[in-house]
């Protein structure tokens, strides 16, 4: 095989050593699940309000900061989790009261701009309350690794996979089987129409922002257990964007499948092609991969194709 083909097929040739290939693949898939956890928060708010929540990454940081902060103060872990959930619900109420109710039926770009402001406020607010120090976050997630058939798998990532599966199941049931879930979907389609049939828009927005905040707490806990809780956690949103582009902004299964494809794709690319081009290609490769999908399915893999009459 010539050098050219060796380069082209590098991500596939990783599997010449099947153990190593499987390790790359499994790690990629599990990393993808971690991205999906962040992407889910975006999807929830987009589904319910058609709003791209720029603040979602900061929401992950804010939730993790509160949890780590309470634990650091000596609060028992279960109580710290409950307190943090309470804060995320309170935050949802405040956001609805101060921002969202004033922006009903506004252009999407206005809503988007509002979330930009929210992001900067929230990160500064979190830092002001809890400080800038890196905080250790230990909620009992097992650390370390095990090696079935010589393939190394980390407990943390496996836990993240299990948590994501449980979360998606709960959310899927919530959206399809409950009255609130159906109301959420109605609001997403048309604010005014939803209001006209008696759906309380404000309650729906509070619920969806609260659920999104709780999902952010789950994502923040997983990422925080890995790296400690610090400001850069908010930048993890950048890893979720290609997942959203690929999976569709309004599909929960899309966020999961998109995460798996992005995670697998970027790891194979980095390990396969990285050494040929100086490495560190996985970040932009994820976006390239997402854009390729975008060309063929602009609405994402699972997004709804919207046809508007003009």
């Amino acid at each position: 095989m010539g050098e050219f083909w060796e380069f082209v097929l590098a991500p596939v040739l990783i599997f010449e050593s099947w153990r190593f290939g499987m390790e790359v693949a499994i790690s990629g898939l599990l990393a993808g699940v971690m991205y999906s956890l962040v992407a889910l928060g975006f999807v929830l708010i987009y589904k319910a309000s058609g709003m791209f929540n720029f603040a979602q990454g900061v929401l992950v940081l804010f939730a993790a900061l509160n949890l780590a902060g309470f634990i650091g103060l000596g609060v028992p872990i279960p109580l710290a989790i409950l307190l943090t959930i309470g804060i995320m619900i309170l935050f949802a109420i405040v956001v609805e009261y101060l921002i969202l109710r004033h922006l009903v039926n506004q252009e999407q770009i206005i809503l988007f701009m509002a979330t930009i402001g929210l992001a900067f406020f929230l990160s500064a607010f979190g830092e002001t309350i809890w400080g800038s120090d890196v905080k250790k976050l230990d909620v009992g997630i097992p650390q370390g690794r095990f090696e079935p058939f010589g393939i190394q798998i980390q407990y943390l990532e496996l836990t993240a996979g299990a948590v994501a599966a449980a979360l998606v199941t709960v959310l899927a049931i919530f959206f399809s089987k409950t009255k609130i879930g159906r109301a959420l979907r109605a609001v997403a389609d048309d604010h005014q129409a939803a209001l006209s049939v008696g759906i309380n828009l404000r309650t729906i927005w509070i619920i969806v922002w609260a659920v999104s905040g709780i999902v952010a707490l789950v994502a923040g806990t997983m990422w925080g257990a890995k790296s400690g809780v610090q400001f850069s956690l908010s930048e993890i949103a950048l890893k979720a964007l290609p997942v959203l582009i690929l999976g569709g902004f309004e599909s929960i299964p899309g966020a999961i499948i998109g995460g798996l494809i992005i995670g697998l794709g970027e790891k194979l690319a980095e390990v396969g092609w990285g050494p040929y081009v100086g490495g560190a290609i996985e970040d932009w490769f994820a976006y390239i991969l997402a854009m390729v999908f975008l060309v063929f399915r602009p609405q994402g893999l699972f997004g709804e194709k919207i046809i508007e009459r003009v």
Partner: protein
């Protein structure tokens, strides 16, 4: 970013009330702008660094009434570790009597170097910045004192050689460099490649993008390569993740050595037990068990004149390093006052002071820092000083020095510096000074 910067700037200003001296320079005061990053992703490192400088300046005023009667004043400018903001800070503060700046960022340093000559402002980059600026003939206004990334890289190789039983044993050994994908992270590559050709080890370079929260692909490659040693050239969250990933794949932590910016409490404490045994470079001692540091705590903090919540950083690696910055600047000022018979020194005089900086072992003792650092002596041609490097190791609670001072491979590094500086001079039409 503007809103955030404003909000946090206000918060920082409130937090710092009472400690930042007035920024307006009076006739009998010496002004120092401090480029800080108390906000943003690198704030956990930026806060102790900035405090170290401010606390020492504050201490000199409180304890000694300034330097030979000249009160020190300083003003913070928040860069967020952002090069563009750093340049804005420089432009805004350079006219306020600035004679020396501490950019605290390699990116900002690169941008400021071309202006230093024109503005007559010295750039003091303690343990970072542009390594070839050590050649004072080409870079008269830039100081890399007391050592550089290239020196450190060569010292690491010497240390690894010693651990392996001699430099001859390095042949065939596998060394992986995991680096922040930035100008800073790429600094040691040239040195390590040169030594690879000379000593016969096999170097693998693995770049990690900012901020380094996700490094799985890098560590999969480490699993495959199975290096004998890992050198970590990280910053911020990249360090904590790397340490955790190393533990997760079962890599022996005492064979992983971080650059001195990967070897602070902020890098290891959040990882829990994972960092036990991890090593890092440094050029000064760790901890607060020195008379000067104890006195700073007493004079500044116990008297209620310190930065709110700042006492917890005293004696930490990054705080100590910030203090070293301030010591270099004030010692240079002291030397210039003596040489020129002035009280407040100007840009030219400060530059002379830095170029003739000579902190002997006796002077370190007088300062209350006996054994804290090696003597430092700059010359017209050599702005790096002596460049010795220490290796420290984290035991789960604190950093311990585990090596003697390692003299870098000057015979390898200095020609590299001179060659690179000469190329810079040629490109920028600079006629090197005769020294």
């Amino acid at each position: 970013m503007r809103l955030k910067g404003l909000t946090l700037g206000l918060a920082a200003a409130v937090a710092a009330t009472g400690i930042a001296a007035p920024a307006v320079q009076a006739a009998d005061t010496q002004y120092f702008p401090l480029f800080t990053y108390r906000t943003g992703p690198y704030a956990p490192n930026g806060i102790p660094s900035a405090n170290g400088i401010a606390d020492y300046l504050n201490y000199v005023n409180l304890k000694h009434g300034g330097v030979n009667g000249v009160k020190l004043v300083w003003e913070e400018c928040e860069t967020g570790y952002n090069t563009k903001k750093g340049v804005e800070c420089y432009e805004r503060l350079k006219g306020k009597g600035t004679t020396v700046v501490f950019p605290y960022s390699t990116g900002i340093t690169y941008k400021l170097i071309p202006n230093a000559d024109k503005d007559k402002i010295s750039i003091l980059t303690v343990g970072y910045g542009r390594t070839d600026a050590s050649d004072g003939r080409v870079f008269p206004w830039t100081f890399t004192t007391p050592t550089t990334y290239w020196s450190q890289a060569s010292a690491f190789i010497k240390y690894i050689g010693a651990q392996e039983g001699g430099m001859g044993k390095l042949k065939g050994k596998k060394i992986a460099l995991i680096f922040h994908n930035s100008a800073y992270g790429k600094e040691p590559i040239r040195t390590l490649e040169l030594l690879e050709r000379k000593l016969g080890y096999k170097l693998t370079q693995l770049a990690v993008n900012h901020p380094g929260q996700e490094q799985k692909a890098t560590w999969l490659q480490i699993r495959k390569i199975r290096p004998d040693w890992i050198l970590l050239w990280g910053w911020g969250v990249m360090n904590q993740v790397a340490i955790k990933e190393a533990t997760n794949i079962g890599f022996k932590m005492d064979r992983m050595i971080g650059v001195w910016w990967s070897g602070a409490e902020q890098d290891v404490v959040p990882t829990g037990d994972a960092a036990k045994g991890y090593k890092a470079g440094t050029f000064h001692a760790a901890g607060g068990d020195f008379p000067l540091i104890k006195d700073i705590k007493k004079v500044v903090y116990d008297a209620g004149k310190g930065i709110k919540g700042g006492d917890k950083y005293i004696g930490q690696v990054l705080w100590n390093r910030g203090m070293v910055n301030a010591i270099f600047a004030t010692e240079a000022m002291r030397a210039a006052q003596k040489k020129f018979g002035v009280k407040v020194v100007n840009g030219d005089q400060m530059r002379w002071g830095l170029e003739n900086l000579n902190i002997t072992a006796e002077r370190w003792s007088e300062l209350g820092l006996k054994g804290f650092m090696q003597p430092v002596k700059n010359t017209c041609a050599d702005h790096e000083g002596n460049g010795p490097v220490l290796i420290q190791q984290w035991d789960g609670n604190k950093w311990n020095i585990v090596s003697d001072f390692i003299t870098p491979m000057r015979e390898v590094i200095r020609p590299l510096i001179e060659k690179s500086a000469a190329a810079y001079a040629k490109k920028n039409n600079i006629t090197p000074r005769k020294c």
